[in-house]
Symmetry: C2
Subunit: 262 residues, 2 copies
């Protein structure tokens, strides 16, 4: 994997200038990357409430003021309209455009939400010596819609999506305690060991992402996934929703370690 | 202190029926007690955002649907209009009535917020063997407005209020780790040891509550306080805000231990 260890400010400047256009994995090594969701103010209260009620799946790390594209809490000076490599425009729940700049879509009533992502706890797991096969193999994780209902909020309602990583049995406890320190990045696992308890019939057939390699004795460990809020929001068919394109995240100025719970 | 070890459902029924009218300290032993703040939907987005941006001072444990007085997440079947012993009605930031039932004030656009309170982490501290002089003496804690600015949200803006407990030096580390497990009840201390760093000139003169006894060598330990959101909200002079009267809290069905972070 390509690594870019410059400060996120410099990397975002290259993204803004069109010099970096791909996925953000490996960029801004050790800095928090975030999922982006932008909604009109008319839908923002329900979405904020949905995140408050479902913090494991929707760990908010920033909510901008209506009309402001600057995430002053996590990356002062950044512009969320230009500083991600790629965006998806969704109208009434359908992707209508994929663009590299959303200034022409911006409005005074738009609210930008940034949500923590699994990169942060994966970094913590690797740092603690927990092996992650998909990282070693350069693959994506496996994800499923589950039988766990999110707590609804206004127009938003739907199932929790989880990601699954096979963990060596000897490392399961460590994987729990290490990821639990990062509630801003989905926190501890939602479930350990029994796919059927989540309504998952076939652990070899993910709904999203890639099937995972299991070494003998590995335990499937499930974390709440940031796909949840996006899937739930789009199912409500809001008139406009803008998100990052998959893998093309926002790189904040927060070191991963700073997201640890006090 | 009077103790009532019945289930909160039974205690709330007595409160609803007018048979319990005083403060709630000692009632529903080991169950989470909560601060109540009720605002019109027109101010609710800003308040929800304020809480999201200031989680140490404003640990939300429930936000009801607009118009619903039932906190389905923490006490299904309860009615927030009748199940607290005493309420304050604030109009444009001024107390205009103190009542034992708010059904006549209720409207379809009101949103009820419940916030965790220090009772939960004090229970955890005592359980862990950390001595709290004010509990042993049957006194209130000491509180100050500090020089720490909360992060503003819309109309809401103001200083963080903290509570202070003198802790034996040998117990300070334990007090930090034990309270940190309860982010839903203000979590770890905001500050340990230096009142001046918070803009507190005189540790013997609290802005609210009572001055505290210090044993030789005790360290002043400061936690974010639930007075913060109420003070900030009232400073914005919303047309209507309903709160519990001081000490007359809402008793949830959540055991204190259930509020521990995963």
């Amino acid at each position: 994997m390509r690594l870019d260890t410059r400060h996120p400010r410099q990397i975002r400047a290259d993204i803004r200038g069109g010099r970096l256009t791909g996925i953000t994995a490996g960029l801004g090594q050790n800095y928090v990357q975030a999922n982006l969701a932008i909604l009109p103010r008319a839908q923002a209260y329900d979405f904020l409430l949905f995140c408050q009620r479902n913090p494991r799946a929707c760990p908010l790390i920033e909510v901008c003021d209506a009309g402001s594209p600057e995430p002053v809490g996590v990356a002062p000076g950044a512009d969320l309209r230009t500083d991600l490599p790629r965006y998806r425009i969704h109208e009434h729940g359908v992707v209508t455009a994929e663009v590299t700049d959303i200034r022409s879509y911006w409005r005074d009533d738009l609210v930008a939400f940034l949500l923590g992502c699994s990169f942060t706890f994966e970094w913590a797991l690797l740092d603690a010596g927990v092996r992650l096969w998909h990282v070693e193999e350069g693959k994506g994780v496996a994800m499923w819609r589950t039988s766990i209902a999110c707590r609804p909020a206004g127009i938003f309602n739907g199932p929790m999506v989880v990601s699954m990583r096979p963990i060596r049995a000897v490392d399961v406890a460590k994987a729990v305690t290490v990821s639990a320190r990062y509630p801003g990045a989905h926190g501890a696992p939602i479930h350990v060991g029994d796919p059927a308890a989540l309504g998952i019939d076939d652990i070899t057939q993910p709904h999203y992402g890639e099937a995972q390699f299991f070494a003998p004795g590995d335990i499937p460990v499930f974390w709440a996934c940031g796909v949840t809020p996006q899937a739930v929001a789009l199912a409500a068919k809001p008139p406009l929703m803008i998100t990052h394109s998959p893998g093309h995240m926002f790189i904040t100025d927060l070191p991963n370690a700073s997201l640890a719970a006090w």
